[in-house]
Subunit: 397 residues, 4 copies
C-alpha cells in the first residue's frame, strides 16, 4: 500500500541543500503528488546556520546529529547532499535504518565506496534508492530519451559529450572541490559524471570500453581558505596567503565505445574560457540526431533524417509544450514560458514521490545500481588515464 | 518607519494567480527581504476552488467576498490578477481602503478606467502602487536598462519590438481573452503593452507619436465554451458547438517616434506560426545596440560599437553572473544555472517588498502613473488604427 | 529559334559593374548555358578606368560613348548598373534600339521614369527585360518561393521584413547614395526595394495598401567629397571640409496589407548599429513559416506546422544540397560547401541566358512590368509618409 | 628578381580541379597580383574530358601526358589535385624538373611518401612548395590566427576540433575515397588533416603526443561502381550490384597534447547525421577563446576574457570587414556581402602568387615541411589506434 506521507530528512545546507529544499518546497505546488511530502528535518554541521536555513526553507525540525535523525522512525527518506566522501557512511547507515535514500551524484568518492553503497542498497529490500543525476529531468534531455526509446535515432553512430565551465582560473581558491580526499575527483566526478549518465540514459546503452583518457591539472596550486568548505564562489571562508596543492583534475577527456557500436568522446573541464555551464551532448544515429546545450536548456535540437531531403535541417524544439506532451511541461507554464536550472530538481523530487508511492516516474530514475554503472566508467577513465591503455569495462567490477 | 510585516491579499487564482503565489512563496527564500512577507488571504470566485488553491499554495485565509477582505485592516497589499475589466473597481476600492495595490498589466481595459485608477492612486498619498510589467525584472531586460542608463547605447536611432505567439489558431475557443468587453483588447493589451513598457523602460524615453497603426482579427468567429472564463489552453470549460464573435485584435502593428528622436516599430500577434513566446526587442544607438528574445531569456545580445572595429560583433551575454553584478543573479544560482519565466515574478515580488520598506528596488518599478503612460500609447494605437492618421501622444490625455 | 550567342554590353564599372562582370565571367563555367555568353563591350565614363576595368575582367571592347554602343548591331543585351537617375534614358534608348535590357534595381529613380521604361518595354515586343533583384536567386530565397508555391505556408498571416545596415554614421561622406536627385531615395530604394520584391516573390501576392509610413534622415548634413561619385566606403574622392545636405532617407518604415490578407511591416535603415547586411524576412502562414537572414544566406529557417506537435521547431536548412534539389545548388559545390553574395548574381546571369534562349529560369525573373509593381509600392510609401494617411495601391498608377 | 609571369600546369579535373581552376581564374580579378597568372596547361586522364574541361575554364593547353608537361620549360608551377596515392610521384618529378609545386592535402597517402616529397623539396632549392590546406585562408580562420599571434588568447588550455559530415551512409558507393590503397585513409586524411593543420596554424604550437585514438568503419561493404573514380555524389560511374570492402575509416577520434600545454580532442567523421560540412574548432586560452564552424564560415565567435565581466560574452564577428582590416576582406565585397567555400581557394591562389613574387602572403602558407608535421600526426594517430597506447610525436620521424 502506498504511503500517505513522506517525511524527508535532508543532509546539507550548501548549494545542493538549497536546490533540494527548493525542490521539496515546490514539487507539491506544481505536481499532483500521490503522497504528502513533508519537509521534516534538516541536518547540517553548524547549529546556528542549520537553524537559520531550516527556518528560511520551512523545515519543521533541524539537527546537527545525523545518527539521531537517521534513527528517527518518522523519517521515510534521507537525502544526502554532502561532499562526496561522506556519501558512503551516511547512505549505508540510512539504508540499514530502513530508510529510502536519495544521494547527490556521483554516487561516491571512490568505486570501493560506491560498491559498499550498492551492496547496502541490495540488502535493504524495502528501501528505494535514488541518485540526483538531475539533468535526466531537464525536459529536453527527458524528451531526447523518449525519442531514442521510440527508435527515432535508429542505430547510433556517434556520442559527443562536453561539459564545459570556466570558473576555475588561478584566482579561485582551494575549496573542497579541488581536494581529492574530499571530492574524489575534479571535473571528472563533478561534471563528466553527468555526461556519462546522460549518454547512458538517452542511448539506453552501456559503455563497454574506455579507449583512451587524459586528465590535466592546469592550476597546480591554489590559495588556501580559512574554513575547509567554501562554495564555488569561494565565499565560504577568508582567503589566506598560503598556497595549497590542488589534487584533482581541472579537465578530463576520454574516448569510448558503446554496447551498440557507437564511438564516443567525453570532455569535462573547469577551464574552458567563455563556457559557463555548457553541458553539451550530441548523438547521431542513422535515422536522426539530437543536440543539447544546457545553457539553452529549454531547447532540444533535433534532426530527422527520415524527412524529405530538401527540408531536412536541425530543428530547434522549444520543449515546453505541455499540450503536445513534452515531459514535465504540463506541470508548469504555458508553452515557451521557459524553465530554469532548478526545475530539473523539482521534477526529480516529484518523480521520487511518485516512485515511493509505487507509481512510475515520467522517465526512469537512477538508483544506486544504475549510478554504480556510471561510477565504473569513472574508475575506468582514471585507470586508462593512468596506464595509457584502453580499459574494457568488464575489468572494472 | 519601515513595516515589519506585509500581509498580502491576492485576487485571482488562474494563470497569474499561480504565478504570483509562486512569487510570494519564493521571494523570501532567495532574497534577504527587509520585511516579513505573509501570504495572508486569497480571494477568488468559486468557494471550493479558492480553498483548494489557498491550501495548496499556503495562503493562510481565503474568501470569495472581496469587499470584506479589502476592509480587513490586517491587509497591507492588495494584488489584482483578474481579467482587465475588473481592475478599476478593485484597485480604486483598495486604494480608498488605504491599501498598497499591485495590479496585473495592462493597467486597465480602457483609458477611462486607467485614468480613474491613476487619480485614486494620486489621492491615496500613503499607498504605493505597482503594475506587473514583469519583463522589467527579467535579468536581461534589467541589464539592458542599466547599460542604457550608463550611456552605453548612446543616442538611440531604432527601436524594433515584436511580441510573437501562435496559440490562437482557428481551433482555440472563445476564452475571455477574445472578448473585448472583458479583455479590453487582444494582442495589443496582452502582449504589445509589455513591449511598450519594455521599450520605455530601456530607452528611458516616451513615445511622442503613433505614426501609423493597424489591427487585424484573422479569426472572426470561435467556438464558445460553457463557462465564461477559460485559460489559454481552453480548458476552462467544455466547448460548445456554438460559434461566437471574437471582438479583439489577433494582431496589432504600429510605427512610432520616441522623445529622443528614435523611430520605432511594434508588432504583437497571436498568429505568428512557429513563435511560441517570442518577446523580441532590438534597440540601436550610435554607441551600442541590444537584442533580446524572451525564448532565450538568460541571454542579452550586446553590440559595443566602441570596441576596435575588427572585434566588434553581437555578443551573447549569459546574464546570470552574480559575482559580476548582473541584476538579480546574486540571489539565485551559480552562473549559467539558468532562470525561467517565473523568476521575473519572484524578482518583482522581492522588489515590491523592498519598495514597501522604503528601499530602492534593483531597477525601477512601474507604478500607476508609469503604467498610465503605456496605457496612453495603447489608446493612441487604437485611435490611429481607426482613423488612419498619425496620433500625437499629446492628444491622448 | 534560340540565339547561339549573346553579346553583352555592360554600363558601369563601380560596385555593381564588378558584381555583374564577375557574374558574366562565371555563369558559363558553372552552368550549362544554352547560349554562348560573350562579354562584348564595357561602357563607362572615364576612358582610362574603363580600359583598365575592361582588360581586367576580359571585356573584349570598351567605350565611353553609350549612344554608339547602343546602336552597335552586334550587341544583344544591354546591362545598366549606373546610378538610378540614369536608368530611364539608357533603358529606353536600348529598347528602342531593339536590345534586350537588364537594369539594376530599383527600376528607376522616380515612378514617372519607371512608367516610361515600362511603356518602352511594352512597345519593344522582341526585347526581354530584366531587373537585378538579385536576392530572388539567393538559393534560400528561391527555395522559400518554391515552398510557398507548393502550398507549404498555407494562408499567410504575417510578413515581417527588415533590411538593416549600419554604415551610414555621421562620418560617412555625401556620396551619391545620399543625393536625392541622383539616387531617388535612400534606404527605401536601396534596401527596402529588395524586401518588397522578395516579399512579393515569396508570397506570390501584391501589396494592396500602405497603411502607414515614416521616413527619417538622422544625419542631416555630411562631408562633401571632391568628385560626385564615390563608393559606399567613401573612397571615390577626397573628402572636403565642406558640409552638404543629405536629401534622402536614412531609414524608412511602413505597414502594409497584402492581397491575400496578410499584414506586413517593412523597415530599411543604414543606421542599425551592429547589423552589417541583415536582409531579414519572416513569413508566417497557417501551415508553415520561413525566416531568412542574408548574413546567413546559406540557411533557410523553416517551421512545418503540420508535423506532430512535439517535434515542431524552427529547422535550419542548409540550402546547398544539389542532390536533394535545392535551387541552383547542383551547379555549385558539394552540400554545405557554402555560397556567397556574388552567387546570386551569377545565378541570375545564367537564368537571363536561359530566358534569352527561350528556356525557363529556375525561378521567375523580374521584368520591367514586375519591377514596376515594386516601384508603385515605393511611391505609395513616399506618399503615405508625406500625407500621414493610408495609401491604397490602386491610387498609384 | 620577381618573375613577371607564372605559368600554371594543373593536374586533375575533378572536384579539386574545378576548385583550383576557379581560383586561378578569379585571383587576378580581385587581387592586385604582383605577377601575371597564366592558366597554361591542364593535365588529366581522359582526352575528351580534358579538352572540354580546359576549354570551359580557359586553360590555354591541355594534355594527358604528364611527363611531357612536367618537362615543358614554360611551366613555372605544377599544381597536383589527383587522389592522394599519386601525389608523391608527380610532386617529386615536378621538383626534379625545377618547378614550384602546389599539392592538394594531405601531403601524401603515407608517411613514407610524404618523407620522400619533403626530401625532394629540400633538395630543390629554387622551388617553392605549397599544400592546399585551404581553410587557413578562410577569413575567419586567418583572423583567429592573427588574434592568437597578437596574444589575445593567452595561454591555451583547450583545443577541441570536430570535422563532421554525413554523406557516407550505406547507400554511398565505393568511390576512391573508401579505397585505402588510393586514399591512404578515410575521414582521417580527408577531414581530420584539415583540423590538425588548422589547430597548428591558429595555436602556433605542435602536437607532442597522441594520447589515445580510435578509428571505426561503420559501413564495412559498399556497392562497387563501374569506373574506379567517382565524385562524392557517386556520379562517377554506374553502380554495380557487386559489393566491395571499404578499407578506410568512416570516423577517427583522438586525444592529444600540444607543446604549449593544451589538451586537445579531434574527431572526424562522415557519418554524423545532420552535419553536412561542420568543420568546427574551439580554442580556449586564459585571455580569450575562439569558436569556428565552417557552415557559418563568415563568422568567427570570439570571447574576450579581458573585458569587464558583466559584458563578457561570445561575440559573433562577421569577418568580412575590409575597412577594419579583416584578412582578405578588402579584396572582395562590402562588409557582410558574404563569401563562400571557393573564396578560400582564390585567396590561396593569390597568396601563392605573392609568395612566388617574393612577397609575403596575408597569413603563412603551408609548405611541404609544414604539411609534413601534420602528416606525422596522422601517422601517430594510426599507430595509437592500432597499439592502444599513447604515441609521442618524437617517435614518428
Amino acid at each position: 500500500m502506498a504511503p500517505k506521507t513522506i517525511n524527508v530528512a535532508l543532509i546539507g545546507s550548501k548549494f545542493m541543500g538549497r536546490a533540494h529544499s527548493n525542490a521539496y518546497l515546490k514539487a507539491g505546488k506544481f505536481f499532483q503528488l500521490p503522497v504528502e511530502l513533508v519537509m521534516h528535518t534538516l541536518l547540517a554541521r553548524h547549529p546556528q546556520e542549520t537553524e537559520a536555513f531550516a527556518r528560511r526553507w520551512g523545515w519543521r525540525n533541524w539537527s546537527t546529529d545525523w545518527q539521531k535523525t537517521l534513527s528517527d522512525p518518522q523519517i521515510d527518506l534521507v537525502d544526502i547532499t554532502t561532499p562526496n566522501n561522506a556519501h558512503r557512511e551516511l547512505a549505508v547507515a540510512a539504508l540499514e535504518a530502513g530508510k529510502h535514500v536519495a544521494c547527490e551524484k556521483p554516487l561516491a568518492a571512490s568505486l570501493d565506496d560506491a560498491r559498499l553503497m550498492l551492496k547496502a542498497a541490495q540488502k535493504a529490500k524495502k528501501s528505494q534508492t535514488f541518485v540526483w543525476y538531475n539533468y535526466r529531468r531537464c525536459p529536453a534531455v527527458a524528451f531526447a530519451h523518449q525519442l531514442a526509446r521510440q527508435g527515432k535515432l535508429g542505430k547510433i553512430y556517434h556520442v559527443r559529450a562536453a561539459y564545459l565551465q570556466d570558473w576555475a582560473g588561478p584566482d579561485t581558491p582551494l575549496i573542497w572541490r579541488f581536494q581529492g580526499d574530499v571530492a574524489g575527483s575534479g571535473a571528472l566526478g563533478d561534471l563528466c559524471a553527468h555526461s556519462i549518465d546522460m549518454a547512458r540514459f538517452i542511448t539506453g546503452q552501456e559503455i563497454t570500453q574506455v579507449v583512451g583518457a587524459m586528465t590535466e591539472t592546469f592550476i597546480k596550486e591554489r590559495n588556501v581558505i580559512s574554513s575547509g568548505g567554501g562554495e564555488i564562489s569561494g565565499k565560504g571562508g577568508a582567503i589566506k596567503r598560503k598556497k595549497g596543492k590542488s589534487t584533482v583534475d581541472d579537465a578530463t577527456l576520454f574516448l569510448a565505445r558503446f554496447s551498440g557500436g557507437a564511438v564516443a568522446s567525453f570532455e569535462a573541464t573547469r577551464l574552458s574560457t567563455g563556457d559557463k555551464n555548457r553541458n553539451r551532448m550530441e548523438i547521431h544515429g542513422d535515422k536522426g540526431a539530437i543536440r543539447f546545450n544546457f545553457e539553452r536548456m529549454n531547447e532540444l535540437e533535433w534532426y530527422d533524417a527520415t524527412l524529405p531531403g530538401n527540408v531536412q535541417g536541425w530543428s530547434t524544439i522549444n520543449v515546453t509544450n505541455g499540450s503536445e506532451g513534452h515531459p514535465y511541461a504540463g506541470a508548469w507554464w504555458p508553452v515557451a514560458h521557459v524553465l530554469g536550472y532548478e526545475h530539473g530538481f523539482i521534477n526529480m523530487a516529484a518523480d521520487i514521490m511518485f516512485a515511493l508511492a509505487g507509481r512510475k516516474p515520467v522517465v526512469p530514475l537512477p538508483d544506486f545500481a544504475d549510478a554504480y554503472q556510471t561510477q565504473r566508467v569513472l574508475a575506468a577513465v582514471v585507470a586508462s588515464a593512468k596506464n595509457g591503455c584502453p580499459v574494457p569495462l568488464a575489468q572494472i567490477k
